[in-house]
């Protein structure tokens, strides 16, 4: 469940009604993730019922929904076995329902979608983490995505399926800016995992407050990374998260913690915890476990527990948890999870922590280890709670 990402997009889309339109002198950048302004989902499709997932079609864009993203993360190592983490994300946010746009005008610049992309690379041995952010409008082919297969781009950053008709096509990721670059080819090793209830991921208690969500949990990765003037040949594994939705979060939610782990016994785990203002975990929090043989185990909030065991203070004064104890009772799984690097915070328009982690523990008594990514949002001081819609 990646409603946090949806919130991300919603915040930055900032649709307001006319009565609030006073533009002020710029304040500090950085919008609280969970600040969702009165967004109107009318005119957009809602994730209300089951969806028939077809691939490669569903790798493509779903324009009738308000927000959507393609989230690639991965761990790679170079020839000297130095380890790196990477993230390449494309976010789409629609400004108005497609019908409204037709009434607007005939300029080629008319765009309904605003696109944002993030690129981040962590050098775990060297202790460096760098990130880049871009914006573009979905017009004039500056940014966009195909409707039929996985092909998404923002200017010269792109994630493209090399064989458009093949649902398990390899995907090429290319992005570079200002000294940070990646050029990777990803080969999918598993079929898409439908999250939630056959891909319908409920975010809150009300129907319609949901998204369609799937992941491709393992990819064979090969290519190059560019960092600090050097180009390195690397290989490793990657994870893709895909989600699209239209409606807002529930009130009282302040942020989330999301975990994706690839274990050396061939299984993959995804957990997400929605945190509430009062400190509790929302019961809609959930997760999935994909067994080595491809069986899907859905996990609801009562079936797992996550305990932060350490904290880290970012240069901006935000305190994040920095190590966790994971317990999935249903699977007899216990893991100690720790970041590869303390500072993997992205400090652009949005402030969140997304970084590579190591996991060590046991499953069914057998030792097990792995790597993955953790995303932490909503840890700035006292962000205002989401208004009820």
């Amino acid at each position: 469940m990646h409603s946090w990402r949806r919130n991300l997009i919603l915040s930055f889309a900032l649709v307001t009604t006319a009565c609030g339109g006073d533009v002020s002198i710029p304040q500090s950048r950085g919008v609280a993730i969970t600040e969702v302004l009165a967004g109107d989902a009318t005119g957009f499709a809602r994730a209300a019922g089951p969806h028939e997932f077809v691939f490669p079609r569903d790798h493509g864009v779903h324009s009738d929904f308000r927000t959507e993203w393609w989230y690639f993360t991965g761990h790679v190592q170079d020839e000297s076995r130095r380890e790196y983490g990477f993230q390449l994300t494309f976010f789409r946010s629609a400004l108005a329902p497609p019908s409204k746009l037709e009434a607007a005008g005939d300029s080629a610049w008319r765009a309904n979608d605003v696109w944002m992309a993030h690129l981040a690379i962590g050098d775990f041995n060297g202790g460096e983490f760098v990130s880049r952010e871009r914006f573009a409008r979905g017009a004039l082919e500056l940014a966009g995505a195909s409707a039929t297969h996985l092909d998404v781009w923002l200017e010269d950053w792109q994630a493209t399926a090399l064989r458009p008709d093949d649902p398990s096509s390899p995907v090429r990721l290319v992005a570079s800016e200002d000294g940070v670059a990646l050029d990777l080819v990803l080969q999918p090793l598993r079929a898409p995992l439908l999250q939630g209830d056959e891909g319908l991921s409920q975010k809150g208690s009300r129907p319609g407050n949901a998204s369609y969500y799937y992941s491709v949990t393992r990819w064979q990765t090969e290519g190059t990374l560019g960092l600090a003037g050097e180009t390195l040949a690397v290989d490793g594994t990657a994870w893709l998260d895909r989600e699209w939705s239209s409606s807002a979060l529930e009130s009282g939610q302040v942020g989330w913690d999301w975990f994706s782990l690839q274990l050396d016994d061939g299984s993959d785990l995804m957990l997400y915890l929605m945190r509430r203002a009062d400190g509790s975990i929302d019961p809609t929090s959930s997760g999935s476990w994909l067994s080595p043989s491809g069986q899907v185990h859905r996990l609801d909030s009562s079936e797992f527990a996550v305990l932060p065991t350490s904290t880290w203070m970012s240069p901006g004064g935000v305190e994040y948890p920095s190590a966790w104890q994971l317990e999935v009772s249903a699977l007899d799984l216990e893991l100690e999870v720790a970041p590869q690097l303390a500072d993997q915070e992205l400090r652009g328009t949005f402030r969140y922590w997304e970084g590579g982690v190591r996991a060590v523990g046991t499953r069914g008594g057998q030792p097990v280890a792995g790597r993955g990514f953790v995303e932490l949002t909503g840890y700035e001081d006292r962000p205002p709670a989401v208004p009820d819609r």
Partner: protein, 841 residues
């Protein structure tokens, strides 16, 4: 300096308050005029620069093209192929308020997502929570306006006019602090909205870039590599500079005139100080006898001058600021009329200008006081002083002075005409001419005295006295004459110049405006417009009853090396030969050449770029730069920027632009004008067009002209006031000096009436002497202004016309001013009984 010495000076000033007031007034007025003009022009320039900076942001370069603009695609190429990170597209234009079409507002279309790299001064960070990004991008007609602008209140829907279309704008947000950053008259919109509102979908006005850092040269090269043929990559600063340059000549002319006012003020100082020195000659003599050194006398006089200068300068600067507030409106209006759109909200007060005003005021005062101060030191302590020695010296030196004066005038004239001098040389030459003429004043006075000798027979004793008195008080009379002469000369000169200009303009309008009706789109000023009509509508107008035929004109702007160039495209046929007068002897050959595909250039263009018949010009076309032969130069007073003219045939060869900017309609008979105008307006619906008659267009043009020269008129009046004060002071001084003589005259039997006559006769003689000097000087000034200054400033050839009224008026003003200035002294003189006068020492 001894305290008591200083006290003598101050007490003297206090006992003669009128002298003090006049002198201070003269300085104050002079400084006020100079400062106000400097402030007005500085404010206009600053407002432009500020707005420009806000619009340009941190951009180092801009990609610009002519009125056609750049294709959308270019931006994508820049971003995706060349990889320029700091690039922002701009669509810019003007819209007129439907409620008040005379007012136009700039519409700036930007991509908020690309803006962060270039502009942050909008006070609007798209990423903050208050920015109405969604509405701006998705609604058509959505704009942000300056907070507090009542015309565009938050939430309102405002109709505007562009190119004859009416469009609705919706104000979805307000930008605070917009005025301070020069964006007071700017509407912000998404680039898509701007394209749709302005009717330029598919085109961008320009792309702002920041190309810096280590890769700068490489980036510049790569950007230039993908530019279409009509586009150019220019340095942002250079572009701004070029635009500001446009008003340089206009501003310089204003400033020169204001300095003339200053000059008259300084004459006043000279006058006053001289008088005070002369009056106190005995006192100075006594002081010198008591052992006061020359240096101390000098310092005393200069200290008095400093006091006058200080008070006058302070008043002048304050007055200049007040005057500037009024003047800036006039200046801004003219700049808007003639050059570019700029809004000045308040008077800028750059410290440098104020300081310059102070320096001018104080420095000028001290300079003017130097000669009288030096004269004061030359007062000897000799126990018996004879005035006649002084006057004799004046008489002796007057021929020499006149010789120097003539030399000065000749030198000034030569300097002005010297082509290498530019505008500065021309103004310097003018100054020399004026000063040279001033030196000839003593000779003029003597001339008048000689001519007035028969006055004794005509006017009796008073007349005789008046005539003799001219030469008796030569040193003082000459100064009064000089001051008045300069002022009257300025009146004459400027009057002739303006009249000549207007006459030339009227003639030009007469033969250029041949059609009966002129059709153009209702569009905001400052915009290259296209008449929104399709071939069917055009055919309908052509076939309308009463219409003999129509001709179209296309006006576009091209981006060339020297900045923007206007291109006029005409349908060439016979009437052109009458409508446009060509320079040179063989117009037929030129016209033939024009018909064959060469271009004509307007006179300002030719002057500015040094182009003449037989040369070539290079113009950027969509398929690359093309060279066009120049067939000739045509006279045009439409603008001082200059234009290139070509036939429609040639234009269609190289440009793919079927639009027209205006239509001239020729009628069978003028009576059908009303009906045809109505018909045309209907035929071109729903577009909003303006159809005006020949006469209306002419009147409109002259109105703009008259508005422009309103400033000149105002300045002229101010100069006159200063000069009048000078003459008043001089004549007053003259008369009071001879108070003793007058007292004696009364004692020996002169009636008050006769004294009146004496004073008034003398005043009128002064006026006549001034007129004798002023008329030729004024003519000379006009000549230099018309043939040198105007030509060098703007490039126009003006026909010099010297209307008799100007001369008569000048004569009247000269004698009248002198007479009026003589009234108060005459009254004072006539009133004092003889005894008192004699008792004085």
């Amino acid at each position: 300096m001894a305290r008591l010495l200083r006290r003598t000076g101050i007490r003297y000033l206090r006992r003669h308050p009128w002298q003090f007031v006049l002198a201070v007034g003269g300085v104050a007025l002079g400084v006020a005029v100079a400062v106000s003009v400097a402030l007005a022009t500085a404010s206009a320039t600053r407002a432009f620069v500020l707005t420009n900076e806000a619009l340009t942001g941190t951009a180092t370069h801009q990609i610009v093209a002519g009125s056609e603009g750049l294709p959308d695609e270019l931006y994508r190429q820049l971003r995706v192929e060349v990889g320029v990170r700091a690039a922002a597209p701009v669509v810019e234009g003007f819209v007129a308020l439907a409620a008040n079409p005379a007012r136009s507002v700039r519409l700036l279309g930007i991509d908020p997502l690309a803006e962060g790299s270039i502009r942050n001064q909008f006070g609007a960070d798209p990423a903050t929570r208050d920015f109405p990004l969604g509405e701006l991008l998705s609604e058509s007609g959505a704009v942000l306006a300056a907070a507090g602008d009542e015309r565009f209140a938050l939430g309102q829907s405002v109709p505007v006019l562009v190119d004859g279309r009416q469009v609705q704008l919706h104000v979805v947000g307000a930008v605070r602090g917009a005025e301070d950053s020069g964006l007071g008259d700017v509407l912000l919109a998404d680039i898509a909205t701007a394209q749709e509102v302005l009717g330029v979908t598919g085109r961008l006005s320009r792309i702002d870039l920041r190309l810096d850092g280590v890769d700068e040269d490489d980036l510049v090269r790569r950007v230039q590599g993908i530019l279409p043929a009509t586009a150019r990559l220019v340095a942002a600063q250079a572009r701004a500079d070029t635009t500001v340059q446009m008003t340089r000549a206009f501003e310089l002319n204003l400033q020169a005139m204001s300095l003339l006012a200053m000059l008259c003020g300084l004459f006043l100082i000279y006058n006053t100080m001289t008088f005070s020195v002369v009056q106190r000659r005995e006192q100075f003599g006594a002081l010198r006898a008591l052992g006061v050194t020359r240096a101390e006398i000098l310092r005393l006089v200069l200290a008095e001058a400093t006091l006058i200068g200080a008070v006058g300068t302070v008043l002048g600067v304050a007055g200049g600021i007040g005057l500037g507030n009024g003047l800036v409106r006039l200046v801004t209006r003219t700049i808007n009329d003639l050059y570019f759109v700029v809004t000045v909200r308040e008077l800028a007060l750059p410290p440098l200008t104020i300081v310059t005003g102070v320096v001018l005021g104080m420095g000028g005062t001290l300079l003017a006081a130097l000669i009288p101060a030096a004269e004061a030191t030359r007062v000897s302590a000799r126990l018996a002083l004879t005035r006649s020695v002084l006057e004799e010296r004046a008489l002796r030196t007057s021929p020499r002075l006149a010789a120097v004066g003539v030399g000065g005038v000749a030198a000034g004239f030569a300097l002005a005409r010297w082509s290498g001098g530019g505008l500065a040389g021309a103004f310097a030459g003018l100054l020399l001419i004026v000063l040279g003429a001033a030196l000839m004043a003593p000779v003029a006075v003597r001339l008048v005295a000689v001519l007035a000798a028969p006055l004794g027979r005509l006017a009796g004793a008073p007349g005789l006295m008046a005539a003799r008195a001219m030469t008796a008080g030569l040193s003082r009379t000459a100064v009064a004459v000089a001051a008045l002469a300069i002022a009257v000369a300025v009146i004459v000169g400027v009057g002739v110049m303006v009249t000549s200009f207007r006459m030339t303009l009227v003639n030009w309008l007469g033969h250029t405006l041949q059609a009966d009706l002129y059709v153009s789109p209702v569009s905001p000023r400052g915009q290259a417009a296209t008449l929104p009509l399709d071939p069917a509508q055009l055919a309908a107008v052509r076939a309308a009853p009463g219409v003999q035929r129509t001709r179209s004109i296309r006006a576009v702007s091209l981006e060339t090396e020297g900045g923007a160039t206007q291109l006029l495209v005409v349908e060439h046929d016979e009437p052109d030969r009458q409508a446009y007068r060509l320079r040179g002897d063989d117009p037929d050959i030129a016209w033939q050449s024009f018909a064959d595909g060469a271009v004509l250039v307007s006179e300002p263009y030719a002057e500015r770029r040094g182009v003449a018949a037989g040369d070539v010009v290079t113009l950027p076309t969509p398929s690359g730069a093309r060279v066009f032969a120049v067939a000739g130069v045509f006279y045009s007073y439409a603008s001082d920027r200059g234009a290139v003219m070509m036939t429609r045939g040639v234009y269609d060869l190289w440009w793919d632009d079927p639009g027209i900017s205006g239509l001239s309609v020729y009628l069978d008979s003028p009576e059908s004008a009303q009906a045809v105008a109505e018909f045309t307006r209907n035929a071109l619906r729903p577009a909003l067009v303006s159809v005006i008659s020949n006469r209306e267009l002419r009147e409109q043009s002259l109105r703009v002209f008259d508005r422009t020269f309103l400033i000149t008129g105002v300045l002229r009046t101010l100069v006159t006031m200063v000069a009048f004060a000078g003459v008043l002071g001089a004549i007053l001084a003259l008369q009071l000096e001879r108070a003793r003589e007058h007292g004696m005259l009364r004692a020996t039997g002169f009636t008050p009436a006769q004294l009146w006559q004496t004073v008034l006769w003398q005043s009128s003689l002064i006026g006549i002497a001034a007129a004798i000097l002023a008329l030729p000087l004024g003519w000379l000034l006009a000549w230099v202004m018309i043939h040198v200054i105007n030509k060098r400033s703007f490039g126009w050839t003006l026909q010099m016309t010297v209307p008799a009224e100007v001369l008569w008026q000048a004569l009247l003003v000269a004698v009248g001013a002198a007479l009026i200035a003589g009234i108060y002294p005459a009254a004072r003189i006539a009133r004092t009984p003889p005894a008192i006068v004699l008792r004085e020492d």
